[in-house]
Amino acid sequence: MTWQTVIGLEIHVQLSTKSKLFSGASTGFGAEPNTHVDLVDMGLPGVLPVPNKDAFLKAIRFGLATNAEINQVSSFDRKNYFYPDLPKGYQITQMAMPIVGKGSIKIFANGEEKIINITRAHLEEDAGKSVHDLFEGETGIDLNRAGTPLLEIVSEPEIANAKEAVAYFKAIRQIVTFLDICDGVMAEGSMRCDVNVSMKKVDDSELGTRAEIKNINSFKFIERAIAFEIDRQTKILESGGSVAQETRLYDSVKNETRSMRSKEEANDYRYFPEPDLLPVVISDKELEEIRSSLPELPEQKEKRYINEVKLEASEARIIASSKTMANMFEEACLKTDDSSLVARWLVGEVSALLNKDNIEIDESNLTSNNFAVLIGRISDKTISGKIAKSVLEEIWESGDGVDAIIKDKGLVQIQDESLLESIAKKIVEDNPGQVNAYKGGKDRLFGFFVGQVMKETQGKANPQSVNEILKKLLK
């Protein structure tokens, strides 16, 4: 039997507003417990929420960037449940009339493009945190996070596997960071997601029973949790059982999902319209202002890089996929003529270093100025590509200027043809055996001679010249 996996994601994006969704308290991360809290966040008797317009503007930016319907009249509802970190005993959310309606986003996974439809995106307030390790035998409550604005983005159940789920999450992260509506810092909980996984027979039109895995906050864990869940559900179904509808937790240490509560134990949230808030109305003028202030988005950038800058499609996609990478590319291109060389270096050597250190380009020592100079020195043949790589590594470590590094280390490329020719001649003379073998048809030995010249010149020889000279000498 072949089973088809159906995945839907609910992504919670913390919007980077200065103050909370319904109060004037700061949303700053990492403060002393209960210092970013005002009367409203504590849910004191008699307090009332006042919506933060900036959160709406940011949500609308997301909607416009994902070709979504914007509901110019949206409203809030109460979701009622008891929990110590939920001060009012209800969460204010948007159930009936969310600010953002149906939209879509393009992802790239398993070597191909796919459109994932987005059902809706709505605003809601975050809860506080229970603190279990501060007081012996007691639980503390930190309300700093309570009331932080979240945009909950709900996908259609159209995601087919773990790779697509990760690609979708990445695409959402890309868009919200490009739009500057979320810092995208997963480690601080700026983006978290709930994953719904179900399995069905390929021919079935109905979806199978789903399990919801709560609160995952890294790409790696999304992939692993889904893989575990697919395996678990397949085993159940293969053995003739049925999957229970339940909420599960992913344990990253044991790499497994565990049942948290069953459908029967699920809360009845008793949703009803929030009577303390009137519907929020966005005028046509406001909507147009937001639309005209939208930055160029990854997809548009990618197209422009291919059509106007003439980059390779794969390079264009990688550069356009990250805001910091795209910024670096565009700034460096302004300062040099060779855009395709800039692109090749960004996608190649620079990306390799970023991956190694697991950082974003704006966290590295590389500035667009320095990068542009480096590309310039390659173009004007002051240094070879190989030397450039070591210069880049030096910049990575020290942040020093390209020309200073070249000068200090004497890395200027040897262009002097007669000097190179005399070095090459000597090597040819010293290795008669190899020369004979080469002339006898062992073409691969050409690399040996190039290598020897490079070794002799400490890598500073212009490789193109070396090639030409050697070809002439070995004819």
Partner: protein
């Protein structure tokens, strides 16, 4: 009535506390604010002020948060709660010069029509031993009726200002929903709650209302509308004013004497030049059931924050989280509050929402529309405020429905968000009777005008249990 007396501010406040003491049996106050009040009065004596209500002692319903002064909402749950902030309406009144001398007793969380549900005990009506003052603003009504204060604040969700005003023989006004900020008012039913003044006369209510109203950015449901001087039209003639009588209000079921009083008031209005027109509010009979879905639904959610975790009452030695919730709430809330939380949770629960809450909201819109059509024909609508006069404590028995019907005439104005007031218009069996005047949206001035013209030509509002005020 709120004019300056020929005594010092301090003497006035001292007198007020003497009156509170001599009326202790009324149990009208939960918490007194003596020290602060005396200090404020002394300050005023030393630095005379031109503020409109400078030095006037008023009583505040114990549902408004008062900074550093205990606010209980009539509940054991909040018997130890001292708010770190004051309600906007409290700030408005105090910055107009009022002195908040204390917090008045009330039905627990404003749920009740007789002031029998307060954790701090029943309030007595000064008109007779064992008589209820009505509710939920019973403490405020009783304090004004007994002459302890000239005015008090109240709140009205389904009649909580007007019904006790009627039963205690004073004047009380519930403004248009949104006129007075709800910031700092402990919520019962957010879409219905509205604060308002309770005083001897319509004129005093107008003076109070002038200071209580404001557009408050902290309450998004507070109206951003022009706030008139509510005293301006008081003396205008009501000649030609069209007063609506609701066809669907069946007065034949009321006490004969109460109906007689109502008919007399009609004749009096006619003598002042008003014209009576019968109007129809076809959906009005659905008001009470609609209210008892909407109000409990909102209350069940509003009262969730009282969970023993952050403020208010917490049970002793909770075993675990569940135990903390269950015992804190079981011990903290009284029966009527529990009943309404249960009803509210039920009507909002999955599978029942459409049949109850959603349907109730639809009916509410119909009732609102009925009023819109009616006000195309009339200036104000007049009815009795209550079905009868003040009743004995405990006499409603164990059937809560009987008590719920107390608000038959008052609930519609809350559902429609309209201004309405109760005005004393007679005495039956030595107990006061009130009539209700309902105005169109934002037209408090018109009902105040109608009430004032009645009061300048009758003396029902001057009758007190201790004799007439001259």
């Amino acid at each position: 009535m709120l004019q300056k007396k020929e005594i010092s501010n301090k003497e006035m406040v001292e007198d007020t506390f003497t009156l509170i003491e001599s009326n202790k049996h009324l149990n009208a106050f939960v918490t007194l604010n003596k020290e602060v009040s005396l200090k404020k009065a002394e300050n005023l004596d030393n630095n005379p002020s031109n503020l409109p209500l400078a030095g006037i002692p008023i009583a505040q319903k114990d549902l408004f948060c008062t900074k550093d002064l205990r606010t209980t909402c009539g509940s054991n749950m909040l018997s130890n709660f001292i708010p770190p902030y004051s309600a906007t309406v409290i700030e408005n009144l105090e910055s107009a010069g009022c002195i908040s001398i204390g917090k008045t007793n009330m039905d627990e969380f404003a749920m009740g029509s007789s002031n029998e549900t307060s954790f701090f005990g029943n309030v007595e009506n000064p008109w007779g031993e064992g008589l209820v003052p009505g509710g939920s603003s019973g403490g405020s009504a009783s304090a004004v009726a007994a002459g302890i204060v000239a005015a008090a604040s109240g709140t009205d969700t389904g009649g909580s200002i007007r019904q006790p005003a009627s039963l205690c023989g004073i004047t009380g006004l519930k403004p248009t929903y949104g006129r007075i900020s709800r910031w700092g008012m402990i919520a019962f039913a957010s879409s219905l709650d509205q604060a308002g003044p309770m005083a001897r006369t319509a004129e005093d209510c107008a003076l109070m209302l002038n200071e209580m109203c404001s557009h408050d950015p902290k309450d998004t449901t507070s109206l951003d509308e022009n706030i008139p001087d509510f005293t301006q039209n008081l003396n205008s003639s009501i000649k030609g004013m069209k007063i609506g009588l609701v066809k669907e209000f069946d007065l034949s079921k009321l006490d004969n004497d109460v109906v007689k009083v109502f008919e007399e008031s009609k004749r009096h209005y006619e003598s002042l030049g008003a014209e009576f027109i019968e109007i129809s509010l076809p959906n009005i009979s659905l008001s009470v059931p609609t209210y008892y879905v909407v109000a409990p639904a909102e209350c069940s959610s509003n009262l969730s924050r009282f969970d023993g975790v952050k403020f208010g009452r917490r049970c002793e030695n909770p075993k675990d989280l569940e135990d903390l919730y269950v015992r804190s709430r079981s011990e903290g809330f009284g029966d009527e509050v529990k009943r309404r939380i249960l009803i509210g949770s039920y009507v909002l629960s999955a599978g029942f929402y459409d049949a109850y809450y959603k349907k109730a909201q639809q009916v509410r819109r119909l009732i609102k529309n009925d009023f819109v059509s009616a006000f195309e024909k009339v200036d104000v609508i007049m009815s009795p405020t209550t079905r009868g006069t003040a009743f004995k404590a405990g006499s409603m028995g164990s059937d809560p429905i009987q008590m719920y019907l107390e608000d038959l005439f008052t609930i519609p104005a809350n559902l429609a968000g309209l201004p309405a007031m109760s005005v004393p218009n007679g005495i039956v069996d030595n107990k006061p009777v009130g009539m209700q005047l309902i105005g169109n949206f934002l037209e408090e001035s018109k009902i105040l005008q109608a009430a004032h013209s009645f009061q300048t030509s009758t003396d029902w509002h001057l009758k007190t249990p201790n004799g007439d005020i001259s």
